[in-house]
Symmetry: D2
């Protein structure tokens, strides 16, 4: 049976997982219009008790099946470790629920594909929580890129480093890169050709704690991510180079997160006498920092999810966006596993 569109009535939400991110999801769904959080599930009793104390009308449970099998629940929000995403989302979709799943969507692209097919088959809304896409900063950058203001995009470079948090089931790429992959995929109107990556493991069980991932696109567009769990300082900095303008996006800036630089180069014609050299002239104009919407991204994201459920529209960060991220992560893992192909010194 197809998941029913709940246009006119209140959408009932069940949440599985109350760890680090779950309480933020619960708070936003509690405060959103047109929905109600009816049940919450976690294996940890203390967390459940805390949620019950804060939201006493919500039914707590340690068995996710109670959430999924509850006929009153319209949509299931999955905020558990990655390794459980596929099984939980699959069961929820099979039970006719709409599904919100945390990033990264699944452990393999095959699993992601299965969920996409299942959602289509069930006519259910499937949304992956690529939260950053819903920030005022990324929405403004999308506007700038889409308008052609930046010209032809040359490169996308992101540094996302800090101390910890070591994850137990994934390496640093699976932990940090999904943010950049989802932002980049949303901003750029281009299909990547391939992925290369290098990295190293210095601590623990073999999972890389530092990695450099390159995404190769047609027309010399190149993207590069530095992901690092062992950096002494937190950095969240992205450079986007275009032929007309360039962006510096620093997510840690309190208000001027996006700076647009009217800078670039112009290549002139080679004259006869100087045929051996390229004539490159520099353009250095003003910089401006557009005012950004500071609404919490998760608030936009939860509203968007509810609206997609009500209207049947496809979410911005739908299953395909989640799958694309997984494919890039898998390709990066293959590179890391086979090791770097270096030129011997």
């Amino acid at each position: 049976m197809a998941a029913e569109r709940a246009a006119a009535s209140t959408i009932k939400i069940g949440v599985i997982g109350c760890g680090y991110w779950g309480p933020n999801l619960i708070r936003n769904f509690v405060e959103a219009e047109g929905c109600a959080v009816v049940s919450v599930c976690d294996l940890n009793l203390a967390r459940l008790a805390a949620m019950k104390a804060r939201y006493p009308t919500i039914e707590p449970s340690t068995d996710y099946r109670e959430v999924i099998d509850d006929p009153a629940v319209d949509a299931v929000v999955i905020a558990t470790p990655v390794s459980t995403h596929h099984a939980l989302a699959r069961e929820a979709l099979l039970a006719g629920k709409h599904v919100w799943v945390e990033k990264p969507m699944t452990l393999t692209s095959a699993e992601a594909e299965e969920l996409i097919d299942l959602a289509a088959c069930k006519n259910a809304t499937l949304m992956v929580d690529h939260t950053f896409v819903y920030t005022g900063a990324v929405q403004k950058m999308k506007e700038l890129v889409a308008s052609g203001d930046l010209g032809h995009i040359y490169y996308y470079d992101s540094v996302r480093v800090n101390l910890g948090l070591f994850q137990h089931d994934v390496n640093v790429v699976w932990d940090l890169a999904p943010h950049d992959i989802s932002i980049m995929t949303y901003l750029l109107d281009a299909a990547p050709l391939g992925v290369s990556a290098v990295g190293a493991c210095h601590v623990g069980n073999g999972a890389e704690n530092i990695a450099y991932v390159t995404i190769h696109f047609p027309d010399n567009l190149i993207a590069h991510f530095h992901d690092n769990w062992l950096a002494p300082v937190k950095v969240r900095q992205t450079l986007i180079g275009g032929s007309r303008k360039m962006i510096l996006y620093d997510d840690l800036e309190p208000s001027e997160k996006v700076k647009v630089y009217d800078r670039g180069v112009k290549v002139g014609e080679n004259s006869g006498e100087k045929r051996y050299q390229t004539l490159v002239a520099y353009r250095t104009g003003d910089m401006y920092a557009p005012h950004l919407d500071h609404t919490e991204a998760l608030r936009f994201a939860t509203s968007h999810f509810l609206e997609c459920i009500a209207t049947g529209r496809c979410p911005i960060t739908n299953g395909e966006a989640g799958l694309q991220t997984i494919r890039i992560l898998e390709a990066a893992d293959r590179c890391l596993k086979r090791g770097a192909r270096w030129e011997v010194l």
Copy 2:
């Protein structure tokens, strides 16, 4: 005939090349103790006239042979385009002169090796101008690394980006990476195994204007450089991660260029129940920024060159250091030429 050691007398300097960097070299040698700049050569008459106006006792010339063949000249300083380094340094060494050559040392490692052999054969001092090695910041970091304060070094990551200056005869790696290669080589007591690199050319004649270079060392030590001529902002930032402490080196900071963080992770023993997970604990202690010597690096470097000539000591940035840099640049070029070996998406 071997170059004579000029311990007691004034060392006579001839400078070839008065472009961007030459005047800084001339000023420092003019103001240094125990030497005199006797001649300066450039093909550009305006530059020569400017130098003559400022230092009227210096003999100007448009023919480098007048500098090299001058029996009064003890040492030749070469600050010309890279493609001329080898020929000029070779002639100077053959003429029995000591040689100071700008970075990068030569266009090929074979050329660098020839200069090293020639200098050894002539008993001449051969120094490559890796200026950054002589800064207070790098000297302090050398002290910190050598003392073991940082523990085992895990990674060396550097971002060196800005808008321009496009070079006519080299790509961005040859322009910017020599700084990081020379600093890294000086700081780390490890021999690199190989090099991998990706990059792209967006403007002009085919030379990469953006590149990411990885240097692979034994024991999972990894170094990575982001070099970019098309960045809207200037960044000169290096992270050095050690098992005990970590460094953030920001060359654009006016005074606190080197910050040492007492941060890291500790890996505990796996207990029986949690055998599937690594126990990682974080250490977050104080940060401190050591006071640095702010003397101009070139002043140290020129004194060091003069002292090496006088005493026969080997310069810190000798021919071998220059050669190592060229080998890494050549390997990066081979990678860029063959193109990235990516995992297809």
Copy 3:
């Protein structure tokens, strides 16, 4: 009857005022050990409903007397506009309650004195919410100053500026300066002699939106605050100059809020020949940023309040600290009212 010390049992809290700051107080008291929030009062029904929805066991009310007269309530938390602080606190103390009152404590020092006397008479705990005093940054600075590390304190300079929020019942000094006054009073072991101030009103109803306040101490110790509601950027920056070390405290820094500089001057003896000049030598040593406790300040403050109630100890930010702040604010107001005594040009 004296307020009873509730050492062994749960302290019952009633909160009056659920505007901007009230919900933070409620959350912290709800989550604190050894207490329970039993009632909440506000004139705004929407706010009450929001609190009731979040904490359904709390009794809502629009009449503050229901909170104050409730025999089950041990302590009353007052988070209303300044003009109501005195009347509410007075009634609560008269009813035998312990009182927590937001800053600034009252509108006049006479009111503050009355509350202090009343609390003493009733043996009740009276605490003013100078939250910043309970931050890890201020606690660390207290440690540094108290240990003598900074030497003799020369000056205390603070800039606290941003765009808005215009208050309706007070000027910018009453809004922003209490933070700096309370921090300064806590850090410095010195009694101020007097206050001078200049300011201007550019918008609205006559209350100053920009002001500069100077606090004069014995021994040339000088403190100065720049408070501004019309600044384009937010600044929270304090310099503390000592004879041995100096502090830069930037509350907007994400982690390195307190930087300690080993810098200063040494005054030498005047020699005979140079009797007209002072010999001043500079000391420029390392900087370090101590690791700070990042626990929410309000969590410390609420625990401290509960502990003071239980043990009868005097709060760090007691009525006297609140009164001292009001006295300085009153003196600043007198200066602003009489206008600057300037030297005519």
Copy 4:
């Protein structure tokens, strides 16, 4: 005899004083078009020798009269301690020379007035070296203020603090405030009414090392400077608040020194029900950092001086601008001397 206008021929410059700033002046005049530095004077033989070595065509001297009395000299540049400015400038003007004098112009306004009268009488160009006025940043801000873009100016706030350099003959206000006074005077089209100031002396001979100076203007325009020789960090930050836009000018920023914020408040009409409160709405728009001319300010200033000599035009930073600065410094000194009029606590 009136100083002759040297339109067509080379202007001959004599420089008195080769200390900290003198060499910069000499270099700029040496490199300027249409002039020649013919003589240099200093009491310190080592400095003279250094100048002679660098510019061998310049005649060195230890007697300033040799410069002033030299008929070949058209203009005298005075870069000596403040206490000698008046006597040297007076003699030079009397000898029919044009005069460039360092800031602050003189020790008293009477002395400055005498120089102004003398220059008028001799038809000589008299320029005070308020260098900052000639920077790209200040020129751009002048453009913004003059165009009305900022609206009505509300306040001008500047922080200019660092460690040292203690001056022997003046306090910190005379050392640092002339920069801000000259910039402010140039930018604002308003005549100050009066000055108030507080300060303290912590080290040495009684001269204030920290001071806060307020300049009072009509229409509630207020300016304030924080000058400090005992700050652990260097700060050069100015806020200019206007009714329509606001500026943050940070001279230590490498490229984005001037940021223009489209921010402010709008005051609405009081409605009947809310007659007790002002309706203030916030405007928060984009920020932009205009591209600035990065030419060395002293280069502009020296060219401007030469042009004024040649054409008889009045310099931007003429004697009147210098006098205005001295008047404000004198008024600040009177305030500091009489001590703060504080409200007793």
